[in-house]
């Protein structure tokens, strides 16, 4: 049963949420939109068209966080785990980002689960916003999501005339709702169409393409920076190190990417991936082959962020269609 919330009611709702929760929402920062905690309702810039520069994964796997700190007093050592202090609500994320979070749940909640991640997930409600228009590089429908897919959020909003349709999906969502929302009887906007990207056929062929020179050639123009991994909602590799600062020791976890030079380099000097081609290939194989084999789902939600952000235009849709041509050429079909 769909409800309706007007523009003003939404502002009041956000203010109410701000009283008891951290609210993370899209905010305008230097000409870009970023997910950030907001202090007042009107800094929230809901947009049913474009995506934020960075995905909202940063709330569940922050760029940097302390896992635990080491308390030392007279020889005694105590490990104090980081705690999640407050409930939160992630407001205004599109269905592709919500799917990204659901995909990241698979490795992080798989036993033995990451307690910090699990705590944040359980104490954060997801209020999604359906897409009315899509950007040219979106291809979520080819990756098992859709502009109006409510499956990974607690509430899904859809923008209509002076307000939003409120589709309650979970109990957690229901508990968030303001009182007295009227039922929405109007027309639900039809989701926009998206171009299809032939992922299924390509994934089955990827085993044979591992040693194809395509990867070395594609990597020629790659800069090997970490942009694609850091903007991506489903890249979750991380690094861990200790910080000893004036007697206080903390174990810190930070984002890392398989494109970084030391990613797979061992202290003894052994590194299975030293060339540019090998590292670029690892990113596509982890997303399109290894993750699906481990978790039965492709680690790409078709949000198009890597396509927009890559300085040298390594476009995952083009890679997938190139792979299809390479397979056809190989099998002579």
């Amino acid at each position: 049963m769909n409800l309706f919330v007007s523009e003003d009611a939404l502002i009041r709702w956000l203010d109410a949420l701000l009283q008891e929760r951290i609210v993370i929402a899209p905010v305008r920062v230097q000409g870009q939109t970023m997910f950030q905690p907001i202090s007042k309702a009107d800094s929230c810039q809901l947009s049913a068209v474009s995506n934020t520069t960075l995905s909202p994964k940063g709330w569940f796997l922050p760029p940097t966080e302390t896992l635990f700190s080491v308390q030392r007093d007279d020889g005694q050592v105590e490990l104090v785990p980081a705690l999640v202090e407050q409930d939160a609500v992630l407001f205004g994320l599109h269905p592709c980002d919500a799917k990204g979070i659901a995909l990241m749940d698979k490795p992080f909640l798989q036993e033995p689960g990451d307690a910090l991640y699990r705590e944040r997930r359980s104490r954060t409600a997801l209020v999604g916003l359906a897409c009315l228009q899509v950007q040219p590089e979106c291809f979520c429908t080819s990756m098992g999501s859709a502009p109006d897919d409510p499956s990974n959020v607690d509430i899904l909003l859809t923008e209509v005339e002076d307000g939003y349709i409120v589709q309650v999906v979970t109990e957690k969502g229901k508990s968030l709702l303001p009182q007295g929302l009227a039922e929405y009887k109007g027309k639900v906007p039809t989701p926009p169409k998206l171009p299809a990207v032939p992922t299924k056929e390509v994934i089955s062929a990827m085993r044979e393409l591992f040693n194809d020179p395509y990867w070395e050639q594609l990597a020629d123009r790659c800069l090997h920076c970490n942009i694609c991994a850091y903007v991506c909602p489903t890249c979750y590799c991380f690094d861990m190190r200790d910080y000893a600062d004036k007697g206080k020791v903390e174990r810190v976890r930070s984002w890392e990417s398989c494109q970084s030079p030391g990613f797979s380099l061992t202290a003894g000097g052994y590194d299975p991936r030293t060339t540019k081609g090998e590292r670029l290939r690892q990113r596509f194989y982890h997303k399109l082959l290894y993750f699906p084999e481990q978790f039965q789902d492709v680690a790409c939600v078709g949000c198009g962020r890597c396509v927009r952000a890559c300085p040298v235009n390594i476009d995952i849709r083009e890679v997938i269609s190139d792979l299809q041509q390479v397979t056809e050429a190989k099998s002579g079909s």
Binding site: P136, R221, Y230, V231, P311, D315
Partner: protein
């Protein structure tokens, strides 16, 4: 377009004669609007070579991945200063590079799937009608009606208080996500192990936080002092739009002022930190 055809013909001839192993140029990007680097190894691929006002990438850095191979590279006037820098620092051998120079109309501000009409800031003040060094000039020299580079934005910031500048830079550095694209794209950044990756001593560390970001950006830009050739690729590739040229051009202005030197103009002249003048005082009294 006559310029493009000249580039394609020259590239094809170089490959067919075996004069070079590959061509590094530009081709159309998958948004059908902007461009991207192209590596052509067989003559047929040279048909994809283009050159227009979206070819902002500085292709010279790619030569560092192809050391020992004879490559041809399409070079704009500003990019040619990177050739001089890398020659001066012994990173490339002149006889290993065939330079296809182009007269440059100036590059426009582009973003993915978006091409504006406004020239990039570096192009508005560019006086180079053709590359400083080349083996073949495609198209012709293009006289630049350039505005004088007055560094007005820098002097304006310098006029402000230390506190306002501190606040400005903390906010900018606070947004850095340490993707290192500014390093990976820069022709002057080629250390085998970057100081940011050293563990002992831990100069920067893995925390992506304002303090570590400030350490990273301060030293990265200072390592380019007297070496940055102003191609401004670092600012263009930054995914969070940090105005990195405000760092590079501040150092460029001060190096000009203190040492009357500009990077990449002459491959023989030693850069400022590799030499000195006994009699210069530099505000330290003696």
């Amino acid at each position: 377009m006559e310029l493009i055809q000249q580039i394609r013909d020259k590239a094809r001839k170089l490959l067919e004669e075996g004069a070079v192993e590959g061509i590094i140029g530009y081709e159309q990007a998958s948004d059908g609007l902007t461009s991207r680097p192209l590596f052509a190894y067989d003559p047929s691929a040279t048909e994809r070579l283009i050159f227009d006002e979206t070819c902002a990438h500085n292709l010279v850095k790619y030569l560092l991945d192809k050391k020992g191979k004879k490559m041809a590279v399409v070079v704009k006037p500003c990019d040619s200063r990177a050739i001089n820098l890398l020659l001066n620092e012994g990173q490339i051998e002149r006889d290993k590079v065939f330079i296809i120079g182009v007269g440059c109309p100036g590059m426009v501000e582009t973003n993915w799937n978006h091409k504006s009409e406004t020239l990039q800031a570096k192009c508005r003040s560019c006086q180079l009608s053709k590359p400083l060094v080349y083996d073949f000039l495609a198209g012709r020299e293009i006289e630049r009606q350039a505005e004088e580079e007055t560094y007005s934005d820098i002097t304006e910031a310098e006029a402000g208080s230390v506190a306002t500048r501190r606040e400005f830079w903390l906010e900018q550095f606070g947004r850095c996500i340490r993707c290192y694209a500014c390093r990976q794209v820069c022709p002057g950044c080629y250390c085998p192990v970057c100081f940011a990756e050293r563990l002992e001593p831990l100069w920067v560390g893995i925390r992506i936080a304002p303090e570590e970001n400030e350490m990273w950006q301060t030293i990265r830009s200072f390592h380019l002092a007297g070496r940055c050739i102003g191609c401004n690729e670092c600012e263009r590739v930054c995914p969070v739009d940090i105005p990195l040229s405000l760092l590079n051009r501040k150092l460029e202005k001060d190096v000009k002022g203190l040492f009357a030197f500009q990077a990449g103009l002459d491959p023989e002249e030693p850069p400022p930190f590799a030499t000195f003048k006994k009699e210069e005082k530099l505000e330290f009294g003696e």
